[in-house]
Symmetry: D3
Subunit: 135 residues, 6 copies
């Protein structure tokens, strides 16, 4: 079993805001991240799949095809977007990276070809904060 | 003459949008960057000052003091903000990194102590795009 | 289950030296790292916790609070210190990064709030050497 | 149990080419990577071993010795080489990073001293593509 | 005057070899880099242009257009190529990064639109070796 | 004229301390950096030379020879050392990176072969602080 990872990039705006709370409570809990005018990040997304290398190609899965798939299923929906307003799969969810990485998994995993297993996602929000999700 | 650089970080939302143009023209010129719902970035700011090292401290200027000054004069005004809406010194300017780095210079340069020369600013918008400004 | 990681930084001096050995044996085993006058490093510490995102905040645990906790429990005890002389929890231990990462775990793990699980620590000593510890 | 990782570097030429296929099929499947005149990469190899720190040295295994072993067993056979033509352990294999990381494991693992367990290899082909192998 | 930089990536094979010398002399001077079977690298190319930000766009020059221009004029000619065999502008030149960066300048500079000044190129061959050229 | 840069690494202990001052004044001015038990860093040194590429080699100067020269003249004197105690050329100087980069220039510049011009040194003390010196 070999694990192969492709890294893709997107940038987006978001805010951390619970609409069931007052503005004061949002600012108390989320601090600067609750700014009603939004803030944003450059995100790096690591997509790891696993499998046996194919005898004829040497590939677990063609990483160029994986890159195209990630762009179609994930990056095009997130890049230069507002994560709270523009992304259907984040609607009515708190826009934390924890929830974002789960949402990305749910977009990407069903789109992978039969026999290709998604092992993990890793999502950097800043150079010092990232999440990982294994499904 | 020795040049010393301190790197600070902020993240923010913005859009590229000329209010004197139609929405169509903005989208034609600025593409995804014109998204009316904003997008955002992690920015890295390199501040370079120059001078002779002091005989008693070995410092051109205490880099901890420089860090505090950059935070007070620049980072606190930009971090977790909307660059178009929340930043007085970017008001009525196109919110490109070219204009942003000039705006940062104008905030920071007058606040430096007498005898400390600001040599350059370098501002990363993404890991693959940055600007430099020498005043 | 989502894993979230916060990276913190410290720098410190240390030497690799077994007081039960002669100086010659120390130099034979530890080479330049046994220099009696010390050497030092910039260390990067990755702290990974795991859990279910909270329904109201979207957080496994507030990463700003995690950062404060790491600074109080670990960074303040190590930053700009001599790991052999200034750090109570390294007293009478060989000052390898293997022992250091175990010591950091023992400081940090009991201080985490109930319900927050420490998953792993990763500690870079140089850009080409790091250790990981899972408790 | 502590995991310690040493990162080593090599650069090499290769092509992706299945000699049982026509040139057209190779170009269809492997694209630019099938260029008959080769292309190349800077590779970063992460070698992770695991064990209990020794009571007298604090080491799982002396990372300087590990570095020498990796150079002798792996880097000297790959650095500034053509992976398809110059590397006996890649002969008659498709020269993908999946097959390369397995080949490196088979060179390195038997050469480790008794009691030292090889946990994983991680091999970067570009800054955005890497594989991992656990044996 | 603001300087804006776009970073692009390519990978390629090459060798250092002076055809006017014996093989022995080539190996003596160029060492492993003279391997007749080639070796290769991941290259990062920094392209810096300079100018006044435009009043209507805030841009020195649209960095997306710059990226397309660099790809057309440079990256498409170099990526996944053999620099000695496949690249017309390197024909009959020693394939050092010094000569490569000069060759890239000569391809790119005449293709820039009127009024856009190419300030510098920076070319990384490995993470520890790079060249810069100012025309 | 082409500029070529080689990056080398060393790590060392030091403290910032003016022996003409009281301990209190040292702590007031230098803060944690005045810790009498030392602290330390991983340093990255960028050495940039400039010249015309040689017609026969394509080199400004063989970067492998440059690397050996830097190691002999600089790295061997600094790596795994105490900058205040073990380094003759820092004796009786305040051990700031400003003074260190000047000291390194004075060791390296006279040792370069005739015709090779040292253009600049860049010295990283932490990932967020560096100095540059042009002689």
């Amino acid at each position: 079993m070999v694990y192969i990872t492709r890294i893709e990039h997107f940038n987006a705006a978001h805010k951390l805001y619970n609409p069931g709370w007052t503005r004061e409570k949002n600012e108390e809990v989320f601090g600067k991240c609750a700014n009603e005018h939004w803030h944003g990040h450059n995100f790096d997304l690591y997509v790891t799949i696993k499998g046996e290398p194919d005898a004829e190609t040497g590939f677990v899965y063609d990483v160029k095809k994986l890159s195209i798939l990630i762009r179609e299923q994930v990056i095009d929906k997130l890049d230069h977007k507002n994560l709270n307003l523009d992304v259907p799969f984040m609607k009515d969810k708190l826009c934390s990276i924890e929830n974002l990485v789960i949402g990305i998994w749910n977009e990407l995993e069903p789109a992978l070809p039969a026999g290709i297993q998604l092992h993990s996602l890793k999502l950097y929000e800043t150079p010092r904060i990232f999440v990982e999700y294994f499904g």
